[in-house]
């Protein structure tokens, strides 16, 4: 039976030239052969690759698949368990212990209340951009500062400290640096956060981190959690904003539609989330033999879940490779995952994107790329979060 299954030798590490928004061709090809393929993991161990929307969703909702890092079975080496507080790589009940004290801080209602502040932060960034004049790098002027300021204010990271670790997080999330640089940046951020946790315990202020010191979580756990929150809250949204702008500039009719009709903003954000899927792949390991799509995935086997391919699944989305800001079936996309690990900060990310894209579009009606599209620097497929490294843009200055 399994001989007839499609086999992906190694997971692809590059996208096709000229198609920066589409998943690697091998993954789309795998989906074409069916929702489930055999694959060989980087370390040589056999595994499964799931590219179909329904199957990805069902595995994510299935407690027989574990998120624990130390269970990953990808090669002949041992993997250390996740450090305390890194709740993405844990199962219940640990995961819930970390997540529960946070949930009330990230509700739909609470995030909506932040809208005004996010509008202000966005306006400040756009003012600075306009003042400095064209051309500019949209990543440094717009996409990075907005989510960084927002997550820092929410967590309670002092204003003056932002710049340095924004760079550090970028270094260890970007996938383009040497191992030494990566470890150095990661360690520096951890040390900084350890100090911050101690400071918040001593002098609590009105922010998420201070509030968390009031729980039964240890300093070590809080440090790990703040790192996850910072990295997730900043890097993902920053890349959605920059890659999203790039995608809109490459689809001028979509940009025009969005510009003409502000009521499309919410739908456009969902569609960009689906279309771009910047968090591309996650892994789970079977805790017992589990039947998935008619095949038995044996206990201890690690499966790769391809979110970006699932979000382009023709059986779930009409014309999946078309960016369509008027789309109605984008809801239910997997950009924020599914199951118990579904993104805690998704409502914050939504508000940030709605505000920021809208403001950018309104402020710069003539925004366009300042370099040929092929020259826009892209993160390698090996990066955890996909995105652009810089996005040079320009616009016509208003005559006053």
């Amino acid at each position: 039976m399994s001989e007839s299954l499609h086999h992906v030798a190694t997971l692809p590490t590059a996208r096709r030239p000229g198609c920066p928004f589409d998943p690697p061709a091998e993954l789309l090809d795998a989906r074409g052969h069916g929702p489930l393929s055999r694959c060989t993991h980087v370390g040589g161990k056999p595994g499964w690759l799931i590219t179909g929307y329904d199957l990805v969703r069902s595995v994510l909702a299935d407690p027989r698949f574990s998120s624990r890092k130390e269970l990953l079975n990808v090669g002949d080496f041992e993997i250390a368990p996740a450090p305390p507080g890194e709740f993405l790589l844990t199962d219940e009940p640990q995961h819930g212990r970390y997540r529960k004290p946070l949930v009330g801080r990230f509700t739909v209602r609470r995030m909506r209340l932040l809208t005004e502040r996010i509008e202000q932060i966005t306006a400040d960034c756009l003012d600075a951009m306009e003042e400095a004049g064209p051309p500019t790098d949209l990543v440094t002027a717009f996409a990075k500062p907005i989510p960084t300021i927002v997550i820092c204010e929410l967590l309670g990271v002092p204003y003056g400290d932002r710049g340095s670790f924004q760079e550090q997080i970028d270094t260890f999330m970007g996938g383009a640096t040497s191992d030494e640089e990566l470890i150095a940046a990661y360690t520096a951020t951890q040390e900084y956060l350890a100090g911050l946790v101690v400071a918040k315990r001593a002098n609590p202020t009105d922010d998420v981190l201070s509030e968390l010191t009031d729980s039964d979580l240890t300093d070590e756990e809080l440090k790990g959690m703040s790192l996850v929150l910072l990295a997730a809250g900043f890097d993902t949204t920053a890349n959605m904003l920059s890659l999203g702008t790039f995608a809109l500039l490459r689809n001028p009719e979509q940009l025009a539609a969005l510009r003409a009709d502000p009521t499309l903003t919410d739908a456009a954000v969902e569609e960009l989330l689906r279309y771009l899927s910047v968090a591309k792949t996650f892994m789970r390991t079977a805790l017992e033999d589990v039947e998935v799509g008619g095949q038995i995935i044996e206990a201890g086997t690690t499966v790769v879940l391809s979110y970006n391919t699932a979000n382009r699944d023709p059986e779930r989305f009409t014309d999946p490779h078309v960016l369509d800001v008027r789309r109605r079936d984008a809801v239910g996309h997997l950009a924020f995952s599914h199951g118990i690990h579904q993104c805690l900060g998704q409502q914050l990310a939504r508000v940030e994107m709605r505000v920021a894209f809208r403001a950018l579009i309104d402020r710069f009606p003539t925004l366009r790329l300042a370099v040929p599209a092929e020259e826009v620097g892209l993160r390698p497929e090996t990066a955890d979060i996909y995105g652009v490294t810089s996005l040079p843009v320009t616009w016509d200055e208003r005559r006053s």
């Binding site: 909702a61 949930v103 009330g104 990230f106 509700t107 739909v108 209602r109 809801v331 579904q342």
Partner: protein, 79 residues
């Protein structure tokens, strides 16, 4: 219309807020723990589409639609 009942399991809820986002007239989140709150007693009657959609996108299985028990099958269910 098939008879169905909405089951809300607050223990399973992970507070992702998809319900409050999709059907704000039916669901809200507890301001303290972020978990789902039902705003309507029988939303499948007043707001069937939005309610079904919210149950469909709930990531944790906290919102489920169950067929309303009929006849003898209703045996073990509370009235």
């Amino acid at each position: 219309m098939s008879a169905a009942r909405l089951r809300v399991d607050r223990e399973r809820c992970i507070g992702a807020g998809m319900c409050a986002l999709t059907a704000p007239e039916v669901f809200d989140q507890d301001p303290d723990d972020g978990r789902v709150l039902l705003l309507h007693p029988d939303p499948l009657i007043t707001r069937p589409t939005a309610t079904r959609m919210a149950a469909g996108v709930c990531p944790s299985g906290a919102l489920t639609l169950q067929d309303r028990p009929t006849g003898r099958d209703a045996g073990g269910d509370p009235p």
